[in-house]
Symmetry: C2
Subunit: 236 residues, 2 copies
Protein backbone atom coordinates (compact mmCIF):
# COMPACT_ATOMS: atom_id res chain seq x y z
CA UNK A 1 0.00 0.00 0.00
CA UNK A 2 1.36 3.39 -0.96
CA UNK A 3 1.34 5.80 2.03
CA UNK A 4 0.73 8.92 0.00
CA UNK A 5 -2.16 7.93 -2.23
CA UNK A 6 -3.38 4.53 -1.14
CA UNK A 7 -2.38 2.89 -4.46
CA UNK A 8 -1.58 -0.80 -4.28
CA UNK A 9 2.11 -1.15 -4.98
CA UNK A 10 3.20 -4.21 -6.96
CA UNK A 11 5.48 -6.04 -4.59
CA UNK A 12 4.60 -9.62 -5.62
CA UNK A 13 7.23 -10.91 -3.24
CA UNK A 14 6.34 -14.55 -3.89
CA UNK A 15 6.64 -14.04 -7.65
CA UNK A 16 9.82 -12.02 -7.21
CA UNK A 17 11.36 -14.89 -5.27
CA UNK A 18 10.31 -17.43 -7.91
CA UNK A 19 11.68 -15.15 -10.64
CA UNK A 20 14.99 -14.78 -8.83
CA UNK A 21 15.27 -18.56 -8.45
CA UNK A 22 14.54 -19.17 -12.13
CA UNK A 23 16.95 -16.41 -13.19
CA UNK A 24 19.68 -17.90 -11.00
CA UNK A 25 19.12 -21.30 -12.50
CA UNK A 26 19.08 -19.89 -16.07
CA UNK A 27 22.34 -18.04 -15.40
CA UNK A 28 23.90 -21.25 -14.07
CA UNK A 29 22.72 -23.10 -17.18
CA UNK A 30 24.16 -20.27 -19.30
CA UNK A 31 27.53 -20.50 -17.54
CA UNK A 32 27.65 -24.24 -18.12
CA UNK A 33 27.08 -23.79 -21.89
CA UNK A 34 29.60 -20.93 -21.85
CA UNK A 35 32.27 -23.27 -20.49
CA UNK A 36 31.53 -25.69 -23.35
CA UNK A 37 31.75 -22.87 -25.89
CA UNK A 38 35.16 -21.91 -24.49
CA UNK A 39 36.30 -25.50 -24.99
CA UNK A 40 34.92 -25.54 -28.57
CA UNK A 41 36.69 -22.30 -29.43
CA UNK A 42 39.89 -23.90 -28.14
CA UNK A 43 39.33 -26.97 -30.33
CA UNK A 44 39.34 -24.86 -33.50
CA UNK A 45 42.44 -23.07 -32.21
CA UNK A 46 40.64 -19.78 -31.66
CA UNK A 47 40.50 -17.18 -28.92
CA UNK A 48 37.05 -15.62 -28.64
CA UNK A 49 36.33 -11.95 -27.97
CA UNK A 50 32.92 -10.72 -26.75
CA UNK A 51 32.42 -7.14 -27.97
CA UNK A 52 29.93 -5.06 -25.97
CA UNK A 53 28.72 -1.48 -26.50
CA UNK A 54 25.71 0.80 -26.93
CA UNK A 55 24.04 0.80 -30.35
CA UNK A 56 26.12 2.72 -32.86
CA UNK A 57 29.40 2.90 -30.92
CA UNK A 58 31.19 1.42 -33.93
CA UNK A 59 31.51 -2.31 -33.25
CA UNK A 60 30.87 -3.43 -36.86
CA UNK A 61 33.05 -0.65 -38.28
CA UNK A 62 35.91 -1.71 -35.98
CA UNK A 63 35.53 -5.30 -37.22
CA UNK A 64 35.57 -4.11 -40.86
CA UNK A 65 38.81 -2.22 -40.16
CA UNK A 66 40.19 -5.23 -38.27
CA UNK A 67 39.60 -7.32 -41.42
CA UNK A 68 41.87 -4.95 -43.35
CA UNK A 69 44.39 -4.79 -40.51
CA UNK A 70 44.79 -8.55 -40.01
CA UNK A 71 44.42 -9.53 -43.65
CA UNK A 72 46.74 -12.45 -44.47
CA UNK A 73 48.17 -12.43 -40.95
CA UNK A 74 45.45 -14.10 -38.86
CA UNK A 75 42.32 -16.06 -39.71
CA UNK A 76 39.26 -14.80 -37.97
CA UNK A 77 35.49 -15.06 -38.11
CA UNK A 78 32.58 -13.17 -36.61
CA UNK A 79 29.41 -14.23 -34.81
CA UNK A 80 27.02 -11.30 -35.18
CA UNK A 81 24.28 -10.77 -32.60
CA UNK A 82 21.31 -8.57 -33.39
CA UNK A 83 17.67 -8.30 -32.42
CA UNK A 84 16.69 -8.12 -36.08
CA UNK A 85 18.32 -7.94 -39.57
CA UNK A 86 21.28 -9.64 -41.27
CA UNK A 87 22.98 -6.31 -42.01
CA UNK A 88 26.05 -6.59 -39.81
CA UNK A 89 26.96 -10.09 -41.06
CA UNK A 90 26.60 -8.85 -44.65
CA UNK A 91 29.00 -5.97 -43.94
CA UNK A 92 31.57 -8.39 -42.50
CA UNK A 93 31.21 -10.92 -45.35
CA UNK A 94 31.76 -8.08 -47.84
CA UNK A 95 35.27 -7.85 -46.34
CA UNK A 96 35.88 -11.55 -47.10
CA UNK A 97 35.48 -12.65 -43.48
CA UNK A 98 33.23 -15.61 -42.52
CA UNK A 99 30.29 -14.33 -40.49
CA UNK A 100 27.13 -15.89 -39.09
CA UNK A 101 24.20 -13.79 -37.97
CA UNK A 102 22.30 -14.69 -34.81
CA UNK A 103 19.05 -12.81 -34.29
CA UNK A 104 17.75 -12.88 -30.75
CA UNK A 105 14.09 -12.36 -31.70
CA UNK A 106 13.60 -9.48 -29.30
CA UNK A 107 16.01 -10.44 -26.52
CA UNK A 108 18.36 -7.67 -25.44
CA UNK A 109 21.59 -9.70 -25.29
CA UNK A 110 23.26 -12.85 -26.60
CA UNK A 111 23.46 -15.88 -24.34
CA UNK A 112 25.77 -18.88 -24.42
CA UNK A 113 23.20 -21.12 -26.17
CA UNK A 114 22.77 -18.65 -29.05
CA UNK A 115 26.56 -18.42 -29.41
CA UNK A 116 26.78 -22.22 -29.31
CA UNK A 117 24.36 -22.34 -32.24
CA UNK A 118 26.43 -19.69 -34.04
CA UNK A 119 29.63 -21.62 -33.38
CA UNK A 120 28.24 -24.72 -35.09
CA UNK A 121 27.04 -22.72 -38.08
CA UNK A 122 30.47 -21.13 -38.26
CA UNK A 123 32.23 -24.49 -38.27
CA UNK A 124 30.92 -25.14 -41.80
CA UNK A 125 32.87 -22.16 -43.12
CA UNK A 126 36.07 -22.42 -41.09
CA UNK A 127 39.26 -23.12 -43.07
CA UNK A 128 40.95 -26.48 -42.45
CA UNK A 129 43.80 -24.71 -40.73
CA UNK A 130 41.33 -23.49 -38.09
CA UNK A 131 40.87 -19.93 -36.84
CA UNK A 132 43.01 -17.63 -34.72
CA UNK A 133 40.23 -15.37 -33.46
CA UNK A 134 36.44 -15.33 -33.27
CA UNK A 135 34.73 -12.03 -32.54
CA UNK A 136 31.27 -12.17 -31.01
CA UNK A 137 29.52 -8.86 -31.66
CA UNK A 138 26.87 -8.59 -28.96
CA UNK A 139 23.51 -6.83 -29.27
CA UNK A 140 23.95 -3.05 -28.95
CA UNK A 141 23.24 -2.57 -25.26
CA UNK A 142 25.50 -1.47 -22.42
CA UNK A 143 23.39 -3.13 -19.71
CA UNK A 144 22.06 -6.67 -20.24
CA UNK A 145 24.98 -8.28 -22.15
CA UNK A 146 27.22 -7.65 -19.13
CA UNK A 147 25.45 -10.43 -17.17
CA UNK A 148 26.08 -13.26 -19.64
CA UNK A 149 29.28 -15.23 -20.14
CA UNK A 150 29.27 -16.39 -23.77
CA UNK A 151 32.35 -18.56 -23.46
CA UNK A 152 34.68 -15.79 -24.60
CA UNK A 153 38.32 -15.57 -23.57
CA UNK A 154 38.32 -11.78 -23.48
CA UNK A 155 35.54 -9.26 -23.05
CA UNK A 156 35.95 -5.87 -24.72
CA UNK A 157 33.66 -2.93 -23.94
CA UNK A 158 33.51 0.05 -26.32
CA UNK A 159 32.39 3.61 -25.57
CA UNK A 160 32.38 6.15 -28.38
CA UNK A 161 33.36 9.78 -27.88
CA UNK A 162 29.84 11.11 -28.72
CA UNK A 163 28.34 9.06 -25.86
CA UNK A 164 30.21 11.00 -23.18
CA UNK A 165 32.86 10.18 -20.60
CA UNK A 166 30.31 9.55 -17.81
CA UNK A 167 29.36 6.14 -19.23
CA UNK A 168 31.58 3.93 -17.01
CA UNK A 169 30.08 5.48 -13.85
CA UNK A 170 26.53 5.15 -15.18
CA UNK A 171 26.76 1.60 -16.58
CA UNK A 172 29.31 0.05 -14.20
CA UNK A 173 28.76 -3.67 -14.72
CA UNK A 174 29.90 -3.70 -18.35
CA UNK A 175 33.20 -2.13 -17.26
CA UNK A 176 33.69 -4.26 -14.16
CA UNK A 177 33.57 -7.44 -16.24
CA UNK A 178 35.70 -6.39 -19.21
CA UNK A 179 39.38 -6.92 -19.98
CA UNK A 180 39.72 -3.98 -22.35
CA UNK A 181 37.94 -0.64 -22.75
CA UNK A 182 38.06 0.81 -26.25
CA UNK A 183 37.27 4.51 -26.59
CA UNK A 184 36.11 4.72 -30.21
CA UNK A 185 35.55 7.60 -32.67
CA UNK A 186 38.56 9.49 -31.26
CA UNK A 187 38.60 11.63 -34.43
CA UNK A 188 35.48 13.36 -33.01
CA UNK A 189 37.20 14.53 -29.82
CA UNK A 190 37.39 18.18 -31.00
CA UNK A 191 33.59 18.32 -31.38
CA UNK A 192 32.61 16.89 -27.99
CA UNK A 193 33.01 17.63 -24.33
CA UNK A 194 34.56 14.17 -23.78
CA UNK A 195 37.29 13.65 -21.19
CA UNK A 196 39.51 10.66 -21.87
CA UNK A 197 40.95 11.21 -18.40
CA UNK A 198 37.49 10.99 -16.71
CA UNK A 199 36.42 7.90 -18.67
CA UNK A 200 39.73 6.15 -17.88
CA UNK A 201 39.68 7.11 -14.20
CA UNK A 202 36.08 5.91 -13.71
CA UNK A 203 36.72 2.67 -15.60
CA UNK A 204 39.83 1.97 -13.49
CA UNK A 205 37.96 2.80 -10.27
CA UNK A 206 35.49 0.02 -11.19
CA UNK A 207 38.11 -2.33 -12.55
CA UNK A 208 41.77 -1.58 -11.71
CA UNK A 209 42.99 -4.23 -14.18
CA UNK A 210 41.13 -2.97 -17.26
CA UNK A 211 43.29 -2.08 -20.26
CA UNK A 212 42.33 1.10 -22.12
CA UNK A 213 42.83 1.92 -25.78
CA UNK A 214 41.76 5.05 -27.71
CA UNK A 215 40.94 4.28 -31.36
CA UNK A 216 39.65 5.89 -34.51
CA UNK A 217 38.57 3.78 -37.46
CA UNK A 218 38.66 6.98 -39.56
CA UNK A 219 42.19 8.29 -38.85
CA UNK A 220 43.68 4.92 -37.86
CA UNK A 221 44.64 6.21 -34.39
CA UNK A 222 45.47 3.32 -32.06
CA UNK A 223 44.92 0.64 -34.69
CA UNK A 224 48.48 -0.68 -34.41
CA UNK A 225 48.00 -1.05 -30.66
CA UNK A 226 44.74 -2.95 -31.34
CA UNK A 227 46.54 -5.20 -33.83
CA UNK A 228 49.26 -5.91 -31.25
CA UNK A 229 46.62 -6.70 -28.60
CA UNK A 230 44.96 -9.23 -30.92
CA UNK A 231 48.31 -10.70 -31.97
CA UNK A 232 49.16 -11.11 -28.28
CA UNK A 233 45.94 -13.06 -27.70
CA UNK A 234 46.65 -15.55 -30.44
CA UNK A 235 49.96 -16.41 -28.79
CA UNK A 236 48.54 -17.22 -25.34
CA UNK B 1 21.14 -32.62 -27.44
CA UNK B 2 23.24 -30.82 -30.02
CA UNK B 3 23.51 -32.89 -33.25
CA UNK B 4 26.98 -31.73 -34.14
CA UNK B 5 28.89 -32.19 -30.92
CA UNK B 6 26.62 -33.97 -28.47
CA UNK B 7 26.51 -31.01 -26.07
CA UNK B 8 23.43 -30.70 -23.91
CA UNK B 9 21.55 -27.63 -25.07
CA UNK B 10 19.76 -25.64 -22.40
CA UNK B 11 16.14 -25.87 -23.42
CA UNK B 12 14.58 -25.96 -19.93
CA UNK B 13 11.13 -25.83 -21.47
CA UNK B 14 9.38 -26.19 -18.13
CA UNK B 15 11.36 -23.28 -16.68
CA UNK B 16 10.87 -21.24 -19.85
CA UNK B 17 7.12 -21.69 -19.57
CA UNK B 18 7.14 -20.68 -15.88
CA UNK B 19 9.30 -17.66 -16.73
CA UNK B 20 6.93 -16.60 -19.51
CA UNK B 21 3.95 -16.87 -17.17
CA UNK B 22 5.65 -14.80 -14.48
CA UNK B 23 6.80 -12.21 -17.01
CA UNK B 24 3.27 -11.92 -18.39
CA UNK B 25 1.88 -11.43 -14.92
CA UNK B 26 4.59 -8.85 -14.05
CA UNK B 27 3.84 -6.93 -17.26
CA UNK B 28 0.14 -6.95 -16.43
CA UNK B 29 0.92 -5.66 -12.93
CA UNK B 30 3.15 -3.01 -14.51
CA UNK B 31 0.37 -1.90 -16.85
CA UNK B 32 -2.05 -1.60 -13.98
CA UNK B 33 0.36 0.70 -12.05
CA UNK B 34 1.02 2.60 -15.30
CA UNK B 35 -2.69 3.39 -15.59
CA UNK B 36 -2.64 4.78 -12.05
CA UNK B 37 0.45 6.87 -12.84
CA UNK B 38 -1.35 8.34 -15.85
CA UNK B 39 -4.23 9.31 -13.57
CA UNK B 40 -1.83 10.86 -11.04
CA UNK B 41 -0.07 12.87 -13.73
CA UNK B 42 -3.51 14.14 -14.78
CA UNK B 43 -4.32 15.13 -11.19
CA UNK B 44 -1.35 17.50 -11.05
CA UNK B 45 -2.34 18.85 -14.45
CA UNK B 46 0.67 17.37 -16.23
CA UNK B 47 1.25 15.46 -19.43
CA UNK B 48 4.05 12.91 -19.07
CA UNK B 49 6.70 12.11 -21.68
CA UNK B 50 8.77 8.92 -21.58
CA UNK B 51 12.13 9.63 -23.24
CA UNK B 52 13.96 6.56 -24.57
CA UNK B 53 17.37 6.27 -26.27
CA UNK B 54 20.77 4.58 -26.24
CA UNK B 55 23.28 5.82 -23.67
CA UNK B 56 24.72 9.16 -24.71
CA UNK B 57 22.18 10.10 -27.40
CA UNK B 58 21.64 13.42 -25.62
CA UNK B 59 18.52 12.97 -23.48
CA UNK B 60 19.78 15.01 -20.51
CA UNK B 61 21.26 17.68 -22.78
CA UNK B 62 17.91 18.03 -24.58
CA UNK B 63 16.18 18.45 -21.20
CA UNK B 64 18.71 21.11 -20.17
CA UNK B 65 17.99 22.99 -23.41
CA UNK B 66 14.25 22.48 -22.90
CA UNK B 67 14.58 24.19 -19.50
CA UNK B 68 15.97 27.28 -21.25
CA UNK B 69 13.39 27.04 -24.03
CA UNK B 70 10.31 26.78 -21.81
CA UNK B 71 11.56 29.06 -19.02
CA UNK B 72 8.66 31.10 -17.64
CA UNK B 73 6.25 29.62 -20.17
CA UNK B 74 5.53 26.15 -18.79
CA UNK B 75 6.22 24.44 -15.47
CA UNK B 76 7.89 21.11 -15.81
CA UNK B 77 9.77 18.55 -13.78
CA UNK B 78 11.93 15.53 -14.54
CA UNK B 79 12.00 11.97 -13.21
CA UNK B 80 15.49 10.70 -13.98
CA UNK B 81 16.09 6.97 -14.40
CA UNK B 82 19.59 5.58 -14.14
CA UNK B 83 21.24 2.35 -13.13
CA UNK B 84 23.63 4.25 -10.87
CA UNK B 85 24.53 7.85 -9.95
CA UNK B 86 22.59 11.06 -9.25
CA UNK B 87 24.37 12.95 -12.04
CA UNK B 88 21.52 13.55 -14.42
CA UNK B 89 19.16 14.89 -11.74
CA UNK B 90 21.93 17.24 -10.57
CA UNK B 91 22.36 18.57 -14.12
CA UNK B 92 18.60 19.25 -14.37
CA UNK B 93 18.38 20.88 -10.92
CA UNK B 94 21.26 23.17 -11.90
CA UNK B 95 18.85 24.58 -14.51
CA UNK B 96 16.30 25.37 -11.78
CA UNK B 97 14.01 22.46 -12.70
CA UNK B 98 12.67 20.05 -10.02
CA UNK B 99 14.16 16.60 -10.61
CA UNK B 100 14.07 13.32 -8.73
CA UNK B 101 16.57 10.56 -9.41
CA UNK B 102 15.42 6.96 -9.53
CA UNK B 103 18.23 4.39 -9.60
CA UNK B 104 17.18 0.97 -10.77
CA UNK B 105 19.92 -0.90 -8.90
CA UNK B 106 21.08 -2.81 -11.97
CA UNK B 107 17.81 -3.13 -13.90
CA UNK B 108 17.99 -2.08 -17.54
CA UNK B 109 14.79 -0.02 -17.68
CA UNK B 110 12.30 1.92 -15.56
CA UNK B 111 8.99 0.30 -14.69
CA UNK B 112 5.70 1.84 -13.61
CA UNK B 113 6.33 1.15 -9.89
CA UNK B 114 9.65 3.00 -9.94
CA UNK B 115 7.99 5.94 -11.70
CA UNK B 116 5.15 5.82 -9.17
CA UNK B 117 7.75 6.18 -6.42
CA UNK B 118 9.36 9.06 -8.34
CA UNK B 119 6.01 10.74 -8.81
CA UNK B 120 5.37 10.81 -5.07
CA UNK B 121 8.85 12.18 -4.35
CA UNK B 122 8.23 14.81 -7.01
CA UNK B 123 4.94 15.90 -5.44
CA UNK B 124 6.87 17.44 -2.51
CA UNK B 125 8.56 19.88 -4.88
CA UNK B 126 5.71 20.67 -7.27
CA UNK B 127 4.46 24.30 -7.23
CA UNK B 128 0.91 24.83 -5.98
CA UNK B 129 -0.17 25.73 -9.49
CA UNK B 130 0.73 22.18 -10.58
CA UNK B 131 2.90 21.17 -13.53
CA UNK B 132 2.38 21.29 -17.28
CA UNK B 133 4.83 18.57 -18.23
CA UNK B 134 6.78 15.78 -16.57
CA UNK B 135 9.66 14.23 -18.49
CA UNK B 136 10.66 10.70 -17.55
CA UNK B 137 14.22 10.10 -18.72
CA UNK B 138 14.51 6.34 -19.07
CA UNK B 139 17.69 4.28 -18.57
CA UNK B 140 19.96 4.58 -21.62
CA UNK B 141 18.91 1.48 -23.53
CA UNK B 142 17.16 1.10 -26.87
CA UNK B 143 15.80 -2.37 -26.11
CA UNK B 144 14.26 -3.10 -22.69
CA UNK B 145 12.49 0.21 -21.94
CA UNK B 146 10.31 -0.33 -25.03
CA UNK B 147 8.38 -3.11 -23.25
CA UNK B 148 7.23 -1.06 -20.23
CA UNK B 149 4.38 1.44 -20.09
CA UNK B 150 5.29 3.95 -17.38
CA UNK B 151 1.99 5.79 -17.46
CA UNK B 152 3.25 8.39 -19.92
CA UNK B 153 1.00 10.21 -22.36
CA UNK B 154 3.61 10.35 -25.09
CA UNK B 155 6.66 8.21 -25.78
CA UNK B 156 9.61 9.86 -27.52
CA UNK B 157 12.53 7.85 -28.92
CA UNK B 158 15.83 9.58 -29.72
CA UNK B 159 18.56 8.44 -32.11
CA UNK B 160 21.69 10.56 -32.44
CA UNK B 161 23.47 11.08 -35.75
CA UNK B 162 26.67 9.28 -34.58
CA UNK B 163 24.69 6.09 -33.90
CA UNK B 164 23.78 5.60 -37.57
CA UNK B 165 20.56 5.59 -39.58
CA UNK B 166 20.15 1.79 -39.38
CA UNK B 167 18.94 1.95 -35.76
CA UNK B 168 15.15 1.82 -36.40
CA UNK B 169 15.52 -1.38 -38.45
CA UNK B 170 17.82 -2.96 -35.85
CA UNK B 171 15.87 -2.00 -32.70
CA UNK B 172 12.29 -1.97 -34.04
CA UNK B 173 10.22 -2.18 -30.87
CA UNK B 174 11.32 1.21 -29.50
CA UNK B 175 10.15 2.83 -32.75
CA UNK B 176 6.93 0.86 -33.07
CA UNK B 177 5.73 2.09 -29.69
CA UNK B 178 6.76 5.76 -29.91
CA UNK B 179 4.80 8.86 -30.87
CA UNK B 180 7.82 10.93 -31.88
CA UNK B 181 11.30 10.15 -33.20
CA UNK B 182 13.91 12.78 -32.45
CA UNK B 183 17.09 12.65 -34.52
CA UNK B 184 19.58 14.40 -32.25
CA UNK B 185 23.06 15.91 -32.73
CA UNK B 186 22.12 17.12 -36.24
CA UNK B 187 25.12 19.51 -36.13
CA UNK B 188 27.29 16.40 -36.61
CA UNK B 189 25.69 15.39 -39.92
CA UNK B 190 28.71 16.57 -42.00
CA UNK B 191 31.00 14.18 -40.09
CA UNK B 192 28.91 11.01 -40.37
CA UNK B 193 27.50 8.73 -42.98
CA UNK B 194 23.98 9.25 -41.56
CA UNK B 195 20.95 9.30 -43.84
CA UNK B 196 17.99 11.20 -42.42
CA UNK B 197 15.96 9.78 -45.29
CA UNK B 198 16.83 6.15 -44.39
CA UNK B 199 16.17 6.63 -40.66
CA UNK B 200 12.80 8.30 -41.40
CA UNK B 201 11.77 5.69 -43.97
CA UNK B 202 12.60 2.78 -41.66
CA UNK B 203 10.88 4.38 -38.68
CA UNK B 204 7.73 5.04 -40.78
CA UNK B 205 7.78 1.48 -42.14
CA UNK B 206 7.58 0.25 -38.53
CA UNK B 207 5.17 2.95 -37.39
CA UNK B 208 3.35 4.96 -40.09
CA UNK B 209 2.03 7.45 -37.50
CA UNK B 210 5.36 8.37 -35.93
CA UNK B 211 6.27 12.08 -36.02
CA UNK B 212 9.90 12.86 -36.84
CA UNK B 213 11.95 15.85 -35.74
CA UNK B 214 15.62 16.65 -36.45
CA UNK B 215 17.26 18.61 -33.62
CA UNK B 216 20.56 20.02 -32.51
CA UNK B 217 21.05 21.24 -28.95
CA UNK B 218 24.24 22.94 -30.18
CA UNK B 219 22.96 25.00 -33.15
CA UNK B 220 19.34 25.19 -31.98
CA UNK B 221 18.09 23.46 -35.15
CA UNK B 222 14.50 22.23 -34.73
CA UNK B 223 14.16 23.58 -31.18
CA UNK B 224 11.22 25.83 -32.07
CA UNK B 225 9.44 22.80 -33.53
CA UNK B 226 10.14 20.90 -30.29
CA UNK B 227 8.79 23.81 -28.25
CA UNK B 228 5.60 23.85 -30.38
CA UNK B 229 5.20 20.09 -29.96
CA UNK B 230 5.42 20.44 -26.15
CA UNK B 231 3.10 23.45 -26.14
CA UNK B 232 0.60 21.42 -28.18
CA UNK B 233 0.68 18.64 -25.58
CA UNK B 234 -0.13 20.95 -22.69
CA UNK B 235 -3.28 22.06 -24.53
CA UNK B 236 -4.72 18.61 -25.09
Amino acid sequence: MCDTCGCQTTKHSHQDRKLLEINKSLLEANDSVARKNRKHFGEIGARAINLISSPGAGKTTLLEKTAELLSGEFDFAVIEGDIETERDAQRIRAKGIPAVQITTGGACHLDASLVHKGLHELQHTVPESGLDLVFIENVGNLVCPAAFDLGEHKRVVMVSVPEGSDKPAKYPRAFMGSDLLIISKMDLLPYFDFSLEEASREARRLNPDIKIMALSSVTGQGMEQWRDYLAGLTKI
